[in-house]
Symmetry: C2
């Protein structure tokens, strides 16, 4: 295996060890020492791949976002050649919620990352950029649906985008068994039906 590939592979292994620490033990245990132990290497070995805790965390978050995008892409392929924007939005939202094992791991990683971002300027900037990028994709999709007559032109795409993103607020409610996964999806479907019908009552 070429050295560069091996290097990347080891970094991924460390990132996945970090996810396991966050998912199973919590962000309070998230130190380079604990992650090194989880990855089955010494602290010195880990530091060969990541110079700092922040560098390790940023890489693990990038990998989590990448994994979420891959899951969404796989889902999109099943929707056929020209998927309806409603289905694209539903799939995207659903993959951001902790509804299955992989999504739960990346969702917990993401929650830990947001908390870290509150106290680290670089992490804040990286998290912000990633979320703004995602937000822009959703807004473009909604604008296109308005142009294509699938969403009422009276709707404000920016505000509708914000409302959709806010629905990721189901995450802690699902994690704490306050709202059942099925009930969260019912609510999301209702919200999307209204968005695409332009009328509340048809839902």
């Amino acid at each position: 295996m070429p050295k560069q590939v091996d290097h990347h592979k080891r970094r991924e292994e460390i990132a996945r060890a970090l996810w396991r620490v966050v998912e199973q033990r919590g962000v309070a245990h998230l130190t380079t020492r604990v992650v090194a132990r989880e990855a089955g290497m010494s602290l010195g070995q880990l530091q060969h791949y990541f110079a700092s805790r922040t560098a390790m965390l940023s890489f693990a978050m990038d990998l989590a976002s990448e994994q979420t995008s891959l899951r969404i892409d796989r889902g999109l392929k099943k929707l056929g050649d020209r998927p309806h924007p409603r289905d694209v939005l539903r799939l995207t939202l659903a993959e951001m919620l902790p509804l299955h094992t992989d999504a739960r791991a990346t969702s917990r990683m993401s929650a830990a990352y947001v908390l870290e971002a509150l106290h680290d300027k670089d992490v804040h900037e990286q998290a912000r950029r990633g979320l703004l990028q995602g937000r822009n994709l959703v807004e473009q999709l909604i604008r296109q649906a308005v142009t294509d007559g699938q969403i009422d032109p009276d709707r404000d795409p920016a505000t509708e985008t914000n409302l959709l993103l806010a629905l990721t607020g189901f995450t802690p409610l699902i994690e704490l068994d306050v709202i059942r996964p099925g009930d969260a999806l019912t609510a999301i479907d209702l919200h999307l039906d209204r968005l695409f019908s332009g009328n509340d009552r048809s839902a």
Copy 2:
């Protein structure tokens, strides 16, 4: 000062020191040792008031919920004798978002608590109970508004409650400067206008 009151006062001081640690330095620093230092006491003194990190955290979370309720109550008084349910819901949602200093402190406390709950059965149960209680209050309010003809009877109160609670998902988006506070409130107002008009387009 009677001893019991003094005891409670010291516990509150510790809880507020804990909030400051969570708000200013992050949940990764949340140990009894760090909180004791922030509260200006020895670890032994802190342990006199809280037998464990979890006991301290639970008390601090209860205090945060209490403070949020007090802020909502103060806001309700300004709305007059028989406030419109739309205004009550708006106030409740707004006070749960990090839109001003006090709300930010309790909101960060709450986010840290949710992460902790994922790995501690007792914390999970306490957090769940608190959120279910809040959820029930919102659902009662919506059911009453349906009875009073303020919300269309076609609306399902349980699903509408879930959608409203999910809008607390604006929290990380505001914290990371992805969505401006004013834009979050615009989206919440639009959502509430639709809920109380029964028709999407009137908003």
